[in-house]
Symmetry: C2
Subunit: 350 residues, 2 copies
Amino acid sequence: MAAHEQELPVPFKRYHIDKVWRGENTQRGRYREFTQCDFDIVGTTVMDADLEILLLIHSSFQSLGIEGLDIKVNHRGIFNRFLQHLGLREQGDEIMRLIDKRGKIGEDKLKEELHQLVGSENADTILSYISGGGDFMNTLEEIARLAGGHDDDTRRLAEIYRALEEMEIAQYFSLDPSIMRGLDYYTGIVFETFFRRLPDIGSVCSGGRYDNLASLYTKTALPGVGSSIGLDRLIAALEELGMRKGEQQAADVAIFRVEEDLAGYYHGIARRMRAEGLSVDVFPERRKLGQQFKLAEKKHIPAALICGEEEYQSGKVTLKNLQSRTSYELISLNEAIKRARTIASGPAAE
Amino acid sequence: MAAHEQELPVPFKRYHIDKVWRGENTQRGRYREFTQCDFDIVGTTVMDADLEILLLIHSSFQSLGIEGLDIKVNHRGIFNRFLQHLGLREQGDEIMRLIDKRGKIGEDKLKEELHQLVGSENADTILSYISGGGDFMNTLEEIARLAGGHDDDTRRLAEIYRALEEMEIAQYFSLDPSIMRGLDYYTGIVFETFFRRLPDIGSVCSGGRYDNLASLYTKTALPGVGSSIGLDRLIAALEELGMRKGEQQAADVAIFRVEEDLAGYYHGIARRMRAEGLSVDVFPERRKLGQQFKLAEKKHIPAALICGEEEYQSGKVTLKNLQSRTSYELISLNEAIKRARTIASGPAAE
């Protein structure tokens, strides 16, 4: 972006799904090379950009059918003002690092280390600040109070929450003042995403606002906000939730290869079905029907289209639901397409 | 595939779009690392698999809107039998290498080198074999004759051609007996794909049948057929054809940010439009209308949805066609969705 700022429209929205490489030390589950889906809006500081990244996180996981989505939001600007208020701005990095380790070291150890670092009174105030737990707006009131009152940052969080409420998705978001994202480059909103059914897997999508990051590369101000999904961790999570079955279904319909000379005819049918949005696997080998049924089963294909001499001569086809074993004999291709669509969307739909 | 043959359904169809690395020497335009889309059917020798790979090549370029598609097919088995017939089987590799170089060295030089290698009579017969140029079935008759008559290989090509005719796409395919694909591992059909408008760019999609390739890795016979599209070369070709404009269109509709407090409302509209298949860019910054028009123009977005106080109060929206400057004022969202769809499909459609 910094290299192409003259050509690119600003605000610039971009996404990228590909390999990335970690600069920090590798650890178990934190590889040097991994696959990431990331998305950012660069070149603007407005609230709308923060909101849109949150909406994108929500709609991504909604389209995957995730239940119990918990997108935890916080704001580094408010926390910094809070530390300033306590006169602890200089210990900020160390305090954030400790809070980030809370999950690993536990509440007691955190308290102990904070006591040592900033004294018991300050430590208690910090622990009270990060405790959260109430609903979004109450928590916001509480951290605003501890930071010395409302300002643009707190008003921005309130505005974002109002928009989420208006879109009727506020229930997927919480304000968690313990979310720090310890990287120096975050300057505003920060967020992490959890699946309630898999608390141990950690955040599957994290990010925040970084208004000075591009200053490494350009003198132009290129503020931005963005987030990223670690694809490997997400796939592991979906597997643990038993939600990867769609991936195993090789196609919606298998067209069995039954007659010697009908290859072109079968592929013609496949083309028409694909034009209607169905995914079709034309079996290439003329084998016994039983073997073709087995192959369809192994490929988790829910429906078979069979077109033998009788069907071919009458311009009809036969469709079989391979789960229920129901046959629809000698029906039109249009009817077969409708039935295949119903079968493919699952037993409940039929 | 060889490593997982027990678990995988056979025939196994796979595709892959990602980086690959070249084992052979690099050259100008032939990088060590490049991006390839490749697709194969492994575990079967049947004609249907060859056919389906050809159909996939055709439908891929058709969906890109390529005109003047020329998929050139040949068969290594027939050529080998032809060489056997001439008693030249042992010089086969060298002969194929020469023929592969034809484009580079020219017809005269090829003739001269073939003369030296196999004598003038054989050279003339080979040049006659590879000359092709007639229609598919006539060329097939001619090479069958030169190879000593019909066999399973020639019958397979005839069967494939019949299926292509039945699907009414035979005009995109030709039989070119000079296509060799000099790699040792091809054993049957081979093919290359050209755009008639860009003959110099070379083949954009090549492949063939390789029935012994997997024998490097497993004792099980894993015959296969497949092809690959070099993505970089394809994109260069599309650019040369002036066919990349779709890529620049950032969205179908821009929702302008005009009122202070309507972020959630605008994103709610975007969600409804996206559910109807439109791609929507909600502009995050409240700027002067003129600036938002300029941004839409820079992003090649053909329509703008504007919702100010009047529209909001009446539950309506205003849609503007940014090319024709036509305005549809205070219309329902459903009507705006319909109009936006028409505008997005281009000036001809409206």
